[in-house]
């Protein structure tokens, strides 16, 4: 293949140049002194050059890892290569996106399913992507992501990197605690956040404690269908504590899940009435509650029918959850952000934003305390509280504003420090202790990042077998790192090399993200994915992932009229549409089916119709169906909106709508 040849010639050229230099006594050929000169001209240091050597990816060389990053308010997912830090793709999810045709004729029905209270909602605030797992390890098949603003969950098929489903949570309206998957992706977990009355119905805030509720929803994922099966999903009622980030247990903690909460004070704000504002009220107590939920037991309770239908959705009530022993609380440092389960499932690491420690809980101790009913009391709702000292394994002082923790393969854990603007490396104890030269449970090093780091991602760093090697700090602020793009600045993804030990973990690349504010991202080994190069057959319907029996094929092209119903059967191939003239009458109901009959990789065609808000992206083999009423009379040249060939501009046709009499 050409790229390999290129690489080969690159290695051969300097070698040949060396020979030439020796023979001719120096001419114009590349050597390390040229590298030095270029570096000096740009003021690059040796460590800069080393970083470049670790990250520079020549044309044709592929990345070893992929970041699947939330896109924040862009409502999208970004796919980024590591170590090159090149943006490979955006995936349209909750927000229309014209390049992918998303919302302009492609995926309209998926977006429509994301309506909130029957009202179209065309943006999202994606936060926490979750790659599907098999036995606690990424399998590269599916990606789930939440929309915090409206409590929705999307399913993305990684064969074609396209969103297949958006599901609206009927019980709540915000879901910072999603998405996380159980070790075999049996369930996609969506924890709610800001408490509201069921279904976000109205109730005065004075009735907060009585009417407002927290919840966690267990969406059953049907891997065969590639869809969340609502009919096998359920939720668990929780106190209105603003449950936050969550993680599913694995191995030693398989069957459990863990959720932080930030407002166990049940503060209701009211700064305008001289009441403590939320920021103060919510942070008043020294501790909040880590929620420990036995989801496997909860599944049995649901299957036994011990649920109440709320908003038409099965909910295990708080009373049932307590009675069945599904839910336990234990104190955690106040206003926590991340709760992260160690690779073997034995430790659960919680970071309280306002506490300089990470607090490490032992699953073994939690299980023993639950069995022995070693409670220090119960909360206002009767939920038993496990005694803190009986379940904690260690507390490690890592720095200011700890948020999220990821794990390496060797016994190191990494925690983002928002206030310190740094990433801390610290050692785990227990069975992990032998992997690191430093003593257990100690801070090893802090690498400054720029600036205000939120989440971090280590390659496969939240699975049962982390790869280490690379860590990416997903920084919220970039301040002075890039060209000043007006007052709105990009976020900064910083790549850190964590392949060394001890204090060696340098930043080796900065990548600006100028589209929305990403939150969490997962990093997966690229060879785990098996994406399609083209759709499997001509006439493929991506929304169903099957051959569409109605798809137009070559020689089937025609325009069929029956009364005021007009059906257009069209094909697209370089560089023409067939047919090229489509004439209808004003008011006709038009069903336009179009297939890209190409089989060549990357031979995508667009199909754009002016005045009708239509733009399809038709990848090779893809068929799409759009329906609309031809309400605007006129002459509309439709064209291919993806530069497909030398005669791309000529890939055009006329859609003519005769005015009604």
């Amino acid at each position: 293949m050409t790229p390999r040849k290129n690489r080969l010639s690159r290695t051969l050229v300097p070698a040949a140049a060396g020979v030439a230099l020796a023979c001719a006594g120096g001419a114009s050929a590349q050597s390390m002194s040229d590298v030095q000169k270029a570096a000096e001209a740009r003021g690059l240091t040796t460590s800069d050059l080393l970083a470049a050597a670790k990250t520079y990816t020549p044309s044709g060389m592929k990345d070893e890892y992929l970041i699947f990053s939330s896109g924040g308010h862009s409502g999208q997912v970004f796919v980024i290569g590591v170590p090159s830090m090149r943006l490979l793709r955006s995936i349209a999810v909750f927000t229309p996106e014209p390049w992918q045709g998303w919302g302009y004729g492609v995926g309209n029905e998926v977006l429509a399913a994301g309506a909130v209270n029957g009202k179209e909602n065309l943006w999202g605030d994606t936060h926490h992507p979750a790659l599907s797992e098999t036995a606690g390890d990424y399998d590269g098949e599916w990606l789930f992501i939440n929309d915090k603003i409206n409590a929705r969950v999307a399913v993305i098929d990684l064969r074609d990197f396209e969103t297949k489903q958006i599901i609206k949570n009927p019980l709540t309206i915000s879901d910072h605690g999603g998405t996380f998957v159980t070790p075999d992706s049996e369930y996609v977990i969506e924890g709610g956040q800001y408490a509201v009355p069921w279904g976000a119905d109205y109730a005065p805030i004075s009735e907060y404690k009585e009417k407002y509720r927290g919840s966690v929803t267990m969406w059953k994922f049907d891997r065969k269908k590639g869809r969340i099966d609502e009919s096998k999903s359920f939720a668990i009622e929780l106190p209105p504590y603003w449950q936050d980030l969550s993680d599913a247990g694995k191995l030693a903690s398989d069957g459990f899940m863990f959720m932080n909460s930030i407002n166990t004070e049940m503060a209701t704000g009211g700064i305008e009435d001289k009441k403590p504002p939320f920021e103060a009220g919510v942070s008043k107590n020294a501790t909040d509650y880590l929620h420990i939920i036995d989801w496997k037991k909860a599944e049995k309770v649901y299957q036994a029918g011990k649920v109440e239908k709320i908003k038409g959705f099965p909910v295990i009530t708080l009373a049932t959850a307590i009675e069945e022993g599904l839910l336990h609380l234990t104190p955690e440092p106040r206003s926590p952000h991340g709760v992260d389960v160690a690779p073997k499932g034995d430790f659960i690491v919680v970071s309280g934003k306002l506490d300089p420690h990470v607090t490490v809980y032992s699953m073994d101790k939690i299980k023993k305390s639950i069995a022995a009913k070693k409670f220090s009391g119960s909360d206002d709702f009767g939920v038993p509280i496990l005694d803190f000292d009986s379940v904690v394994e260690a507390q490690v002082e890592v720095g200011l504003g700890p948020l999220h923790t990821q794990f390496g393969p060797d016994g190191y854990a990494y925690t983002s420090l928002f206030l310190d603007s740094a990433v801390a490396r610290w050692t785990l104890g227990g069975v992990y202790g032998a992997g690191t030269p430093e003593p257990d449970w100690t801070l090893v090093h802090k690498t400054p990042v720029h600036y205000n780091v939120g989440h971090i991602g280590v390659a496969e760093g939240d699975t049962v077998s982390p790869d280490g090697k690379y860590l990416v700090a997903f920084n919220k602020w970039s301040v002075d790192r890039f060209f000043q793009t007006g007052p709105l600045l990009p976020q900064n993804f910083q790549l850190i090399d964590i392949s060394g030990k001890g204090t060696e973990m340098p930043v080796i690349y900065d990548m600006p993200i100028g589209v929305g504010e990403p939150h969490y991202a997962q990093i997966v080994k690229a060879d785990k994915l098996k994406p399609w190069a083209v759709y499997p057959e001509i006439g493929w319907n991506p929304s169903k992932q099957e051959l569409d029996p109605m798809a137009p094929k070559p020689k089937m092209e025609r325009v069929v009229r029956s009364g005021s119903q007009v059906e257009v059967l069209m094909t697209a191939i370089r560089s023409h549409f067939t047919p090229e003239h489509v004439t209808v009458k004003q008011g006709d109901h038009v069903t336009w089916r179009i297939t890209n009959v190409e089989r060549a990789v990357d031979a995508t065609h667009g199909f754009a119709v002016p005045a009708y808000n239509i733009n399809l992206s038709l990848e090779p083999g893809e068929t799409a169906t759009i329906e609309f009423v031809a309400d605007t009379p006129g002459t509309f040249p439709f064209y291919c909106s993806e530069f497909c060939s030398a005669l791309h501009l000529e890939m055009v046709g006329y859609f003519m709508v005769e005015p009604a009499e």
Binding site: M1, T2, R574, A600, L647, E650
Partner: protein, 218 residues
């Protein structure tokens, strides 16, 4: 008594006792013809000809392979590109040859079988068609390529920007931004090897039976 026409056709028979001591002399023609038949039969299942089209936007190149009875490779993609210059669809080429090629080759194999039994000069006539087959294949291919390359649709999108052309059936050529690299397939090579084997068979055939024919004429 003068030999009948049939006898003259199949040539002199070899007496068993004469044959017994000279296994190689009388066995060699049949043996080499058997090898030739096997080679031809095996070639039926193998590609006869490849063309590779090299252009910057196809890093893996485009491939076209001709078998005795079908085309394989990037036929649709090549057809798609060819429509720009007004070339007819590849599937329209050599339809007759592809439909009957297998039967024709089987017929040639049967003729080779008979050639082993014929000890007269007529054996040469039964071998020659099979021997010439690889050349006929290439000639036919060349004729189709010339026909397709020189009968382009004048109304095609790029008909004014390309002159009629005939890409070489072996070796490299250029069409638009494509470099064409044509090479024989393993089937064609086996078929050519069969031709050489036939030549060897005929040599031994002549050595074994010409003296007998001459003796019979007396």
């Amino acid at each position: 008594m003068a030999p009948s026409i049939a006898e003259r056709l199949i040539g002199p028979r070899v007496a068993l006792d004469e044959r017994a001591g000279r296994t190689f002399r009388f066995g060699a023609p049949g043996f080499f013809l058997l090898i030739a038949r096997v080679l031809i039969l095996v070639s039926l299942f193998l590609p006869y000809w490849h063309m590779e089209l090299v252009a910057p936007q196809y890093p893996d190149n485009l491939h076209l392979t001709a078998h005795i009875n079908h085309l394989s490779g990037d036929v649709a993609e090549i057809d798609g590109l060819n429509h720009y210059i007004g070339m007819r669809s590849l599937e329209e080429a050599a339809q007759f040859e592809r439909s009957y090629g297998v039967y024709a080759l089987i017929l040639l194999v049967v003729m080779l079988e008979f050639a082993g039994w014929v000890h007269s000069r007529w054996a040469v006539l039964m071998v020659i068609p099979a021997m010439l087959f690889p050349a006929i294949f290439l000639l036919d291919l060349h004729l189709w390529m010339s026909h397709f390359g020189t009968h382009l649709d004048p109304d095609a999108p790029l008909s004014s920007s390309i002159d009629p052309f005939v890409p070489p059936i072996l070796g490299t050529g250029t069409v638009g931004q494509f470099k064409t690299v044509a090479s024989p397939g393993i089937g064609l090579i086996l078929s050519a090897a069969a031709s050489v084997t036939m030549l060897i068979a005929l040599f031994f055939h002549r050595r074994a039976y010409l003296p007998l024919v001459r003796a019979a004429k007396g």
